[in-house]
Every structure is written in C-alpha cells, then in structure tokens.
C-alpha cells in the first residue's frame, strides 16, 4: 500500500508538462545517440549534462532527462548491431551474435521488433524490482565482497566458453587477448604504468568504446571490401518490413529469463549491463539451443541479451540511488551530476527526497512505454536502411564512428587506436576467432584483476579468502554445474548425430 502511495506521488511528479517533454526528448535523443557507433550511454548522458546546467533544471528534471537518455541509448544500441553487425555501444555486442544473422536471412524487421519488445520487458521487470525492493537489495549487495566479485567474473568467463565459434581454444584465446589489453594503463592499486610504452595517452588505458568501434566497424568495412559490388548488394534481401507477431512473441520465455538474469547482474555494483547481456545469452543458449540454431539467427538469441542488458541497466540504478555506488560508467556520470545538484545518493535518499526518487521511478515506467511506442513504428524506417547501397552507407557509418570518438576525447590518438583495432579485428575474424570474448575481457578485465588483488590484500595474501564466503562457493558451484551441463549437452549431441548416421 505504501508503495502505491509513493508511486502515486511519483506519477504526479512525472506528468508535469516539463517532465513529460524532457522524457520524450530524452528518449528520442537517447535512441539517436545509442544508434550511432562510437557514442554510447556514457557519452549520451555526458553530452546532456551541460544542457541541464544551461537550463537550470532542478535535480528531479535533470535526473528524468538523463535517465530517459540512458534508457533510449540502450534501445538505440541494438539497431546497428542488427542491421550492420556493428554494435552501437558495449552492451549491444551480444545482440550481433544472432541479430545480424537474422537480418541476413531477411528478418531484420523481426529482429528489431524482438529486441524492442525484449528491451521493454527487461526494463519493466527491473523497474518493478526497483519499486519493490530497492533499499532491501542495496542492503544485500553490500555483502558482496571482492572475493565474490572475482568469483562472479570467473563465472562470466566460464560461460562464454560455450558462446560461439567452432574451436573453444580460439574463444578462450580471444578472451585472454581482451584481458591482456585491459591491463594497459596505470595500475589503479599502485599507480605504475603498464604496457604504455611511456605514452601518456595510454595512461588511462584503452577506452572500450574506441576498441569496440574499431573491432567491429572498421573490420566490417574490410570484409565488405573483400567482396565485389555484385556480391555485396545482393547479399541481404528483405522479406518483410512488418514484423511477424508469432515470431516476436515466440521468444517470451527467453525474454523473461534474460530479464531476471540481467536484473541480478545490474543490482551488483560494478557488474553492469554488459555482464547482464552476456550471462543472459549464455544461459539462454544452454537452456534452449536445441538444434544448434544459436549464432545462426535464433530469435531467442536476440531476445535474451536485449532483455538482459536493459534489465541490468535499470537494475544498476538501485546501487546508485540507495548506496551512491555506480554500477556502470553511465551511472557514474549520473551520480556525479546528482551530487553537483545537491542530491546526495545514499541510504537516506529514499526518505529525504521521496519526490525525486519516486518521480524518477514513475518516469522510468513512462519512458519505457514511450520508447516502445516510439521504436516500433520506426522499425520500417530502420529496415529501409538496408536498401541504401553499401558504398553510400558504410562511409557515413565510418565517419560517424570517427567523429563520435574524436569529439569525446579531443585527441586524434584515439583514432589511430581505433584503426589498429580495426586491423586486429579483421585478422582475428579471418582466423575464425570471435571478437565477443575479447570485448568482454576488455570490459571486465580491470575489475577482475582489481577484485582479486583487493581480496588478497584484505586477507594478507591468504588465497583461502577466495572461497571463504558462501556467495563465492555458490558461484563456483554454479560455474562447475554450468560447465558440466555444457559438456554433457555436447556429448549428447555428438551421440545423437552418431546414432542418426
């Protein structure tokens, strides 16, 4: 009952005309920014912060605008993943795995519709979770210590073993290369520069979004150049511009599972949307990859990670609001902005500024509905992009990627890094080494190392600390069970194939 009263208060805040207008603008701008390779939610939020200052918005209005942008970006990131095989931002990487093959089969409209609906469901599940359990979950999350985080990352890397590609050695190697790249830069614990070659430009490490855009966008350009113009433009046909509802809703359970997994990943500070997407995809693949259709355009392979990453992004607001601990780069930027608006996120926020918190929650419900309504009619428009000839579309995509990266860092150094990653990505893809584990290693590597080192610093060098808590033991057991299941499924498929022949 109390929650309903609070929510009522929230909606009365959210429906104020200024807030509604900001919500709409935020959703629209977010979708646009998210759709551009090189610009993700972090940039989207950062771009709009000066705007909130310039207009003198109060904390509630600012937070509503930025959250709408945040959500919009999560919607927008998938568009280029599906249509061009180039993720718009980090969490959309997983969506390329089945989204792009679907588009190649002529089902771009279905893939976009599935991702839109899955995003909606994922975010809604997480917002309901936020409404009901935020303070409680935040209290639980503080018992997740460094050793437990390390166990969580081990689990994430174990589950990607079953991701994609034929040769598990290559998948693992890809992840290790990502981890290697993640150690470039200043070591946070000691301040020592590692693998920088003395260049100050590398002190902050490789920005994942720069690497991501290079790996996917530029390598995609290289692949297109392998083909002659005739092969290229007849490669993708489009069956329909209107999504098939039966296919869209056939992914229902995948969406639900993805939402729950993503939410859990989101609530843990530091795990974030990318981990949510990866875990959702891996688990869904184990559960429902009956005939090896994953990676070849299975609708469930689009629904699960899309539900997962949106659910995780909304879930990440819980530690940010109730503990003041950002769960991702984007929430870190939002946090900084809140503090500068004299809002101190933390244990007392819900009591002290209920109108802000509940206004935000109500806005999120509305933003989510708006995004779905805004996005479904746009599917027809987006799929028409496929009809633009490659020679006209690709140069623009590449230019946007370059400008996106340059406009954020103001240095051409990042452009060279991006080109280098493009060549690396092309060579690795030619060698049949999938890039997704590499991106994951790059995204999670620093946290994995830091938490290992934190755990050992706390224990004074005793490795027993790694399995000292029930949380980490449970995570290691789950990892082992997951690996055992993968092996069992692989053996069973092999036996069936043998029986059949």
């Amino acid at each position: 009952m109390e929650i309903l009263t609070s929510l009522g208060l929230g909606f009365s805040v959210a429906v104020q005309p200024l807030h509604l207008a900001l919500l709409l603008f935020g959703c629209f701008a977010g979708t646009l920014i998210g759709a551009m390779p090189g610009l993700g939610p972090v940039n989207g939020v950062a771009i709009l912060i000066p705007l909130t200052f310039a207009f003198g918005f109060d904390a509630t209005a600012s937070l509503i605008l930025l959250s709408a942008v945040y959500f919009g970006c999560m919607y927008g990131g998938r568009i280029s993943s599906i249509l061009l095989n180039i993720p718009g931002d980090e969490p959309a990487v997983m969506t390329t795995l089945d989204g792009y093959p679907m588009a190649q089969k002529g089902q771009a409209a279905n893939a976009l519709a599935i991702s839109g609906v899955a995003s909606f469901v994922g975010a809604t599940v997480a917002i309901v979770g936020l409404t009901l359990f935020a303070p409680l979950l935040a209290r639980a999350a503080i018992y997740f210590g460094p050793a437990d985080y390390f166990a969580l990352y081990v689990m994430a890397f174990a589950t990607i073993g079953g991701l994609a590609g034929v040769d598990p050695r290559k998948t693992l190697l890809s992840a290790l290369i990502g981890l290697m790249i993640a150690t470039i830069g200043l070591d946070p614990a000691t301040g020592i520069p590692r693998y920088t070659g003395g260049s100050f430009d590398l002190y902050d490490g490789i920005d994942p979004i720069v690497a991501l855009v290079g790996l996917f966008a530029i390598s995609e350009l290289m692949f297109l150049l392998e083909k002659t113009i005739k092969d290229r433009d007849t490669a993708i046909k489009l069956d329909t511009w209107i999504p098939d509802l039966k296919v869209v809703f056939g992914t229902g359970w995948a969406t639900v599972r993805g939402s729950v997994v993503g939410f859990v990943a989101g609530v843990l500070p530091g795990a974030g949307a990318s981990l949510g997407a990866v875990m959702s995809y891996s688990i869904e693949k184990q559960v429902s990859n009956k005939n090896g259709s994953f990676g070849k355009g299975d609708p469930k392979g689009v629904a699960a990670p899309e539900a997962g990453n949106n659910s995780a992004s909304a879930g990440a607001l819980i530690p940010m609001l109730s503990l003041g601990v950002p769960g991702s780069g984007t929430t870190a930027v939002m946090l900084a902005m809140l503090i500068s608006l004299n809002v101190q996120p933390g244990p007392l926020l819900f009591e002290r500024q209920p109108d802000l918190v509940w206004g935000l929650v109500a806005s999120l419900y509305m933003a989510n509905v708006m995004l779905l309504v805004l996005n479904l009619p746009l599917i027809g428009l987006f799929t028409r992009l496929m009809a633009v000839p490659t020679w006209a579309l690709m140069p623009l995509v590449v230019a946007i990627s370059f400008i996106g990266v340059y406009s954020i860092s103001n240095s051409t150094f990042d452009l060279y890094i991006m080109i280098a990653f493009g060549v690396l990505g092309y060579v690795l893809r030619k060698l049949d080494i999938t890039l997704v584990p590499l991106v994951l290693g790059l995204l999670l590597g620093a946290d994995m190392e830091n938490n290992l080192r934190r755990a050992l610093s706390i224990s004074g060098g005793d490795y027993g600390v790694l399995i000292a808590s029930w949380i980490s033991i449970a995570l290691y057991i789950a990892t082992a069970a997951f690996l055992a299941l993968s092996v069992w499924l692989a053996l069973r498929d092999k036996k069936r194939a043998a029986d059949a022949s």
Binding site: L24, F25, I142, D201, L323, L374, S409, I458
Partner: protein, 327 residues
C-alpha cells in the same frame, strides 16, 4: 498514439535544439576555456563547469566559458599539452587539486611544478578517518593504539591507490601516532569513497580514509562513524566530529580544488585571473555551489597559493620517499 508522440518528440527535440544552439554559439568567438583533465563527472569536471558557469553569470568573462574534457594520465596529458602548446594562452585555465600535486610530487607528470602558474584554491574537501557503526574502535586513540601495536591487523582502504592522497594522509596520522614501519599497514584501493564505505559496512574492511563529501550520507544515516576529521577546525556541517588535532594528532588532510594556467602567461593576465577568481569566491553563487558539492569554501590565491602548492609538493614527496614510492 504512436504517431502523435513521435511528432511531439520531434517538436521537443527541435525546440531544445534551437535553444541549445543559441547557447552553444559563442564558442565560435575566441572565448575563455577551462580544461577539466578528466572525463565528465568527478571533481575536476565539477570545478570547471561550476566556475565556468559562475564566471559568466557574474559577467567576469565575455560570453560563456568553454569547457573541454581532456582525460589522460590523471591530468598528465593536459599538463604536457599546456606546457608544449598553450603555455602563453591567457584565456586558458585548468582544473587541478591535491591529486594533481601528488602526481607531480611522485614524478608522474612530464614536467615539474614550476612549469605552470597556480592561480588559487576555491574550496576543499576534508579528509576523514571512518569506521563502521559496529566497529570496535570508538576513538582515534583506540585505532592508533591498534595500528601501532600490530599494523598488519588493521585493513584500511580508500579511493586512491597505494601512495595516493587517501593513503598518504592516513599514513601521516599513523606516523604521528608512532607507527614506524608504515609499509606494514594493509591498504586496499577502491574506485570511490562510497565503494570503500559500502565494503566496510559489509564487513570486509576495518577503516576507510577518504573525503567526507562523498560519504556524508552514510554518516547521517548512522551506518558509519567518523573518528577524526583532518581539518584545522570542526566541519560546519558536522560540528560534533572531532578533529585529529583536537585528539593530539597534528595532521590536516584537505583535498583542495583549484586552477592553474600556463607558465608563460604574463603577470598582468595572471593577476587578472586571480582577481576574477577571488571575486567569484566571494559571490553567493560559489559559496552555495561549493557547500552543495560537499566542499568547505577556502580561498588562497596568487603568490600565497604558489607558495602553498610548492610546500605541499615537498611534504608529499617527503612521505612518498619515506614509504618507498619514489627513490
């Protein structure tokens, strides 16, 4: 519904965009610029954005102040760029803080403290020593006793790495209390003060040393207890927190926020900036904004600040040498 909301979204976008382009236009003229040597969010970004906004609100500059983010090497990239390309640019100011001076003292910037001209500090975050509400340590004296008796029995943490400012000011307290082997104290690095505090609430850590601003919410909620504030006088917002000095430990640990400009800027332009910043400091706008951000407004400017920065660099270099971070 779909179509109409789409159209109103576009309308909203267009209006906002028009207003935005009006506000963005002045940077085409050669406006003053403030570089935040970090990504958006965080202390240096706040310094530039807030000071830039108030400078133009008070008409101390023509038009807007352009804010540029130039992350890299904890400020080293910007330091190198200003030194090489814009050391005589009179329209340029750069945000810095105690963190920047620590980096210089440990030789992590491409050039020394004398390469730039330091304008002034406008406020400071106060360092505190915190424990969980259910901690066995009730006073700073009890904590010091435990650290001196067996330094390795206490797990300490903060938002900087080993040798960073959060760590160094804790070591200054420990040394004052009589701990000789400073390297025996266990230190765990976290990405932010709140990260460390929540881990402490979860029972992983014993003590957190960090800025008060970020973790004030946990003090008010009663989740953590502050054993000592590293300030000369009690903090206005929390008068009941005892200072370290009042407990016989003569240590202060401010994280000040301030600005520098290029080393070849003329005295005239330097003095003009100092004067503008002092006017800004005395304005209600800054006093309010600083307090809202969790800072204690403090002004030290001009020659006095140059001397202050140099002295702080010496102190930092001394303790860094003592604990073996630099040769």
């Amino acid at each position: 519904m779909g179509v109409s909301s789409f159209i109103s979204a576009k309308l909203a976008a267009v209006t906002t965009v028009t207003m935005l382009s009006l506000s963005a236009a002045p940077h085409m003229a050669h406006a003053d610029e403030c570089i935040a040597p970090s990504n958006p969010g965080g202390g240096w970004d706040f310094t530039c954005r807030t000071i830039g906004r108030i400078l133009s609100e008070l008409d101390l500059v023509d038009g807007n102040v352009q804010i540029t983010n130039m992350p890299g090497g904890v400020g080293a990239v910007t330091y190198a760029m200003v030194d090489a390309e814009r050391s005589d640019d009179e329209g340029l100011i750069v945000a810095t803080s105690t963190v920047g001076v620590t980096q210089i003292a440990q030789g992590r910037y491409p050039s020394g403290i004398d390469t730039m001209r330091y304008l002034g500090m406008l406020g400071a975050d106060v360092g505190v020593i915190a424990v969980a509400a259910d901690s066995e340590y009730e006073t700073l004296a009890e904590l010091n006793e435990a650290m001196v008796a067996d330094a390795s029995s206490v797990v300490t943490a903060g938002s900087s790495g080993a040798g960073g400012w959060d760590h160094i000011r804790l070591l200054m307290v420990a040394r004052e209390a009589g701990l000789e082997d400073l390297t025996a104290l266990r230190w765990v690095q976290f990405d932010g003060g709140t990260d460390a505090v929540t881990q402490m609430m979860g029972g992983q850590l014993d003590v957190v040393s960090t800025d008060l601003g970020e973790i004030a919410g946990f003090v008010e909620s009663g989740d953590i207890r502050i054993l000592a504030a590293l300030s000369t006088d009690p903090i206005p917002a929390f008068p009941e927190i005892p200072t370290a000095i009042s407990q016989g430990i003569d240590v202060t640990g401010y994280n000040w926020r301030g600005l520098y400009t290029g080393g070849n800027v003329s005295d005239e332009a330097y003095n003009a900036w100092v004067e503008k910043l002092e006017t800004l400091y005395n304005s209600d706008e800054w006093q309010t904004a600083a307090v809202e951000f969790g800072l204690v407004p403090i002004w030290i400017g001009g020659a006095e600040f140059e001397a202050y920065v140099r002295e702080q660099e010496q102190v930092m270099a001394g303790i860094s040498r003592d604990i073996g971070i630099i040769e």
